[in-house]
């Protein structure tokens, strides 16, 4: 259950990333949100590194993120091992190692806030987003940074904060920090050819 909630949370962050990648970043949060709302499709490549205290070197994975309005989100990991995380309407599907699991989100009302926050983000509804996270927008057009801090205490126990960095019209990286100091860093780039 908590695994599932976390998956959604991470998807939310990615979806912001996917949605804003090709848009013009604004110095103002509201304008960024407006741009997000106007995006109908998004597709970016990612490289993700997990830094864990107990491992000698970071775990690396790569793949792509896709978004289709209004509520189709997909994280395709291609390396080192294929994994697919898909949020489509009210169902979250996890495919991994030949196993496919579908979770009907209607059966998990406590996840509703997260799903709501995804939809709110895509709709550019800053108010709805702020009901789940504490938002902090900093920097200027050449270098901006949006920091999300979960308000929910359960979630705050596994995720300390998420920081999304962008520069002009490029989204650069998403960093997720955990309370114990472990972190993951996702670097993004728009694919060369569509």
């Amino acid at each position: 259950m908590r695994r599932c909630a976390l998956g959604l949370f991470v998807l939310t962050c990615w979806c912001i990333a996917a949605g804003s990648a090709a848009g013009a970043p604004m110095g103002d949060l509201d304008e960024v949100m407006n741009l997000l709302a106007m995006r109908r499709h998004g597709r970016v490549e990612f490289v993700e590194q997990h830094f864990l205290a107990m491992l000698k070197r970071p775990i690396e994975s790569s793949g792509e993120l896709r978004y289709d309005a209004p509520d189709h989100l997909e994280k395709r990991t291609l390396m080192p091992r294929p994994e697919n995380l898909l949020l489509d309407g009210g169902a979250l599907t996890v495919e991994r190692g030949g196993h496919r699991r579908v979770l009907d989100l209607h059966r998990y009302p406590q996840i509703k806030p997260f799903v709501e926050s995804i939809r709110a983000t895509l709709a550019g509804d800053r108010g709805a987003l702020e009901r789940v996270y504490n938002l902090e927008f900093a920097g200027s057009l050449p270098r901006w940074s949006l920091t999300l801090v979960p308000l929910d205490r359960e979630l705050a126990r596994v995720v300390k904060q998420v920081q999304i960095d962008g520069s002009r019209d490029q989204l650069l990286r998403v960093e997720i920090r955990q309370p114990d100091g472990d972190r993951s860093l996702m670097t993004l780039r728009t694919p060369a050819a569509p």
């Binding site: 695994r3 107990m54 000698k56 070197r57 775990i59 209607h106 472990d182």
Partner: protein, 798 residues
């Protein structure tokens, strides 16, 4: 004479006293067994076990509605904690994580005995390398953020694997820490009773305990305009208790109302209290003897026998009516001569009824067999009382008021029919019969309802509530399951493991979506020992681990807790059922295990693959191919419907045999094929017309309609035989007496059964809507057909 009278009375009183003693000491059972086969096949036995004591039979589904979600959540918690303290319930679950910590602790401590991936290969260098690499990869997935604390102790990921296996069954939605419906409008609880589902008294106690607990939880005043908290309950036990109460209530209420109607009618006719009291003697004696006979013959009396029996011997009221009306002193048949003039006809009528009811006796449906025994003994007793006791009790010179004028009026009414030519009547009969047969033929496909639920007295509303609660809980009614039997629990578990291996390919082939197994909670001792033995000793494991971690990003030093845990697991005792105590896994396990006298059953409920019905034959074939004779696939609904359909076709066959017996009996008694045809024709016409009428009203016939048809024949045969007698004797005044007695007897039958039609209980409605019109039609047809002099109507179909 008076000595003889005293002897008769003495015999009667002694018999009644004996019957009273037997009735008082008899065992009465109200469980399902009246509907379960007396000599079940192996598959039926499994079904019977499931229906009686299976885990599904012990579930009470509870919904809390109204108020607001906070109030419901707090109420659910208070409610569940009260019920958990009640020994009537073996488990109560409302989604609260009361035992989550203990569950996790149990699973983690025993992970190397519980995980089906534990074997020697997995703990070799290569196996460990692959397993640890997998786990590290998984750390990169979103779920991994939660898993990393497990890496040092469980680098092969057994804990996660076990949890995944157990979580295959979907859990209900949770809000505020308790289970709720997907729309969040109702809090959900599931209680499992300690007693079996067939113990209806215990189920009633458990339901009362739920209500008491609900009344005792603090009902916070609902804020604003919201509804107060409401309790909804469903489940097999709740249905069984409600059905019993409903049948009892309906049977009692309708019996009282029916008796009042009949008594009023008789009093209106007799205008004499002694006559009224005497008139009830045959039916009361018959009922007592009937119950006593069933108690002696079957060892125990079913509730439904008591409920319906009295309606089946309503014919015995007719006997006293015939006696009083026909034996008026000024009539040619004075009491002494009634016995010569009329008794043979009543006796033959009684024998035809007995012939009809005898067809119920060999039924495999214990409820029907008992009803047959009850009716036969009751009718014989009532007829004997009418023949011997009533004349003995009758004061000298006693007579009810003259009802011959009533008979004359009826005769006048029938006068126009008398003038109809015989050929016209015959033609009309044939037309009615052919029309009825045509209707029945058109409705052939839907004529009989072969589903057991047709007898269910559960209202549509309650069934809807049940379906809603079940879908909320994600607990669809278990329909298909595999049952593995064994002499000991461990044998059954080992069998379940073998069956699971045979079932796995069916999941891949999408023939089934999945299955539950008690062996997932508690593997068999053999399997546990094999897993434990496959764990390497410390130095081997350290060597293997050193090879495994070469090239991986984790240091062997970090995995020291893993080495310690494996070494501890190698010396730990195997898990037993007692170890599950105190965890929520226990109720999951116990729901899948059924203990009977000398054997254990492991139950593996099958989940359908994506809205596709499970092909039981395919499952059975897979089990057979795996050479697992101790495992059986069972489709509960199909099996129970097949059982009921079996009863039904058996009852139809037996009824036809009864009809044949009737023809033989009448042929011997009447010694004239023509008279036999004239007696049978109205009965056949009445039965056909009623069946066609029901079919036209889109009523699907059940086994109770069939019993109703037997009653039409039983009651109607008296009418037809009296008309037959009338055609033979030609006594002065006898005709109006015959008509009067028949009209009175028929009115009482139509009234009594007509009343049943207004009941809420389907089985009573079935009897009422068949017998009331059928009895009336039998009288009408008998009257019309007897008018036609010597030209007999064509037999429609005897």
């Amino acid at each position: 004479m008076s000595l003889r009278r005293a002897q008769i009375l003495a015999v009667w009183i002694i018999c009644l006293a004996l019957a009273c003693i037997i009735v008082a000491r008899a065992r009465y059972i109200t469980d399902l067994s009246a509907f379960l086969p007396a000599k079940p096949t192996a598959a039926q036995q499994l079904l019977v076990d499931q229906l009686r004591d299976g885990p599904a039979s012990r579930l009470i589904l509870i919904g809390l509605e109204g108020a607001d979600d906070g109030v419901r959540a707090r109420a659910s918690a208070a409610f569940a904690s009260r019920l958990r303290g009640d020994h009537k319930f073996s488990s109560v679950n409302n989604g609260e994580q009361v035992t989550a910590e203990r569950d996790r602790e149990f699973l983690f401590r025993h992970r190397y005995l519980l995980s089906d991936r534990v074997n020697a290969a997995r703990f070799s260098g290569a196996g460990l390398h692959a397993a640890i690499e997998d786990t590290i990869d998984e750390l990169a997935s979103p779920a991994g953020l939660l898993l990393k604390s497990l890496l040092p102790t469980d680098p092969t990921g057994e804990m996660l694997h076990i949890v995944d296996q157990l979580e295959r069954t979907p859990a209900p939605a949770t809000s505020n820490g308790v289970w709720v419906s997907p729309d969040g409008a109702r809090a959900l609880l599931v209680a499992q009773t300690a007693a079996g589902g067939s113990d209806i008294d215990a189920q009633a106690d458990a339901i009362a305990a739920v209500r008491t607990a609900f009344a005792a939880i603090p009902h916070e005043p609902p804020a604003g305009a919201s509804r107060p908290l409401e309790l909804k309950m469903s489940g097999p036990g709740v249905f069984a208790v409600a059905a019993r109460a409903k049948i009892e209530r309906a049977a009692v209420r309708l019996s009282i109302a029916g008796s009042l109607l009949v008594v009023t009618l008789l009093f209106a006719v007799y205008r004499s209290l002694p006559a009224l009291a005497l008139g009830l003697m045959p039916v009361v004696s018959g009922a007592l003897v009937g119950i006593a006979a069933v108690a002696l013959g079957f060892g125990a009396v079913h509730g439904i026998t008591l409920g319906f029996g009295i309606t089946l011997i309503g014919e015995s009221v007719d006997y006293s009516i015939y006696f009083f009306v026909q034996s008026r002193p000024q009539s040619p048949a004075a009491p002494s001569s009634w016995q010569q003039a009329w008794w043979p006809t009543v006796r033959l009528g009684m024998l035809t009824s007995v012939c009809g009811f005898a067809s119920l006796l060999p039924s495999g449906f214990p409820g029907l067999a008992q009803l047959g025994a009850y009716s036969i003994s009751g009718l014989v007793a009532a007829a004997l009382v009418t023949r011997h006791v009533l004349p003995a009790l009758l004061p000298n010179g006693f007579a009810i008021r003259d009802v011959a004028p009533l008979g004359s009026r009826v005769a006048a009414l029938l006068q126009p029919l008398k003038r109809l030519p015989g050929s016209t009547v015959a033609a009309l009969s044939v037309i009615v019969a052919v029309a009825a047969l045509a209707v029945l033929h058109r409705h052939q496909a839907t004529l009989w309802n072969r589903e057991l639920s047709a007898l269910s007295p559960v209202s549509m509303e309650d069934q809807d509530m049940d379906a809603r609660l079940r879908s909320d809980l994600g607990a669809a009614d278990v329909r298909d399951l595999v049952i593995v039997a064994g002499p000991t629990l461990d044998d059954a578990l080992a069998g379940a493991e073998r069956a699971a291996q045979a079932l796995e390919p069916l999941i891949d082939a999408h023939a089934i979506g999945g299955f539950d197994s008690p062996a997932a909670f508690l593997p068999s001792a053999g399997t546990q020992a094999a897993r434990r033995d496959s764990l390497p000793d410390p130095s081997t494991l350290r060597d293997n681990l050193r090879k495994a971690t070469a090239g991986l990003s984790v240091d062997i030093e970090r995995l020291q807790p893993f080495l310690n845990d494996v070494e501890a697991a190698r010396h730990a005792p195997l898990i037993t059922a007692q170890d599950l105590q105190g965890t929520s896994l226990r109720s999951g396990f116990e729901a899948l295990v059924l203990h009977q006298k000398d054997r254990w059953n492991a139950l593996l409920p099958l989940h359908p693959a994506a809205a596709q019905a499970i092909d039981t034959a395919r499952v059975a074939a897979a089990l057979q191919a795996a050479r697992l004779p101790e495992a059986r696939a069972l489709d509960l609904k199909q099996e129970s419907d097949a059982m009921y359909a079996g009863y039904l076709s058996e009852a139809i066959r037996l009824s036809l045999a009864g009809a044949l017996g009737l023809i033989i009996l009448l042929s011997i008694a009447l010694r004239s094929p023509l008279r036999v045809v004239k007696v049978l024709a109205p009965l056949v016409l009445a039965v056909l017309t009623v069946a066609a009428g029901l079919a036209l009203c889109a009523v699907e016939l059940t086994i109770l309609h069939l019993v109703g048809m037997l009653l039409i024949v039983a009651v109607g045969s008296n009418y037809a035989l009296f008309f037959d007698r009338e055609a033979q004797v030609h006594e002065a005044g006898s005709e109006s007496l015959t008509l009067a007695s028949l009209v009175i007897a028929n009115s009482s039958t139509v009234m009594g059964f007509g009343l049943l039609s207004f009941s809420q209980v389907p089985v009573l409605v079935a009897l009422g809507t068949t017998v009331a019109p059928g009895a009336f039609l039998a009288l009408l047809f008998a009257a019309v057909l007897s008018r036609t002099g010597s030209s007999a109507p064509e037999p429609s179909r005897a």
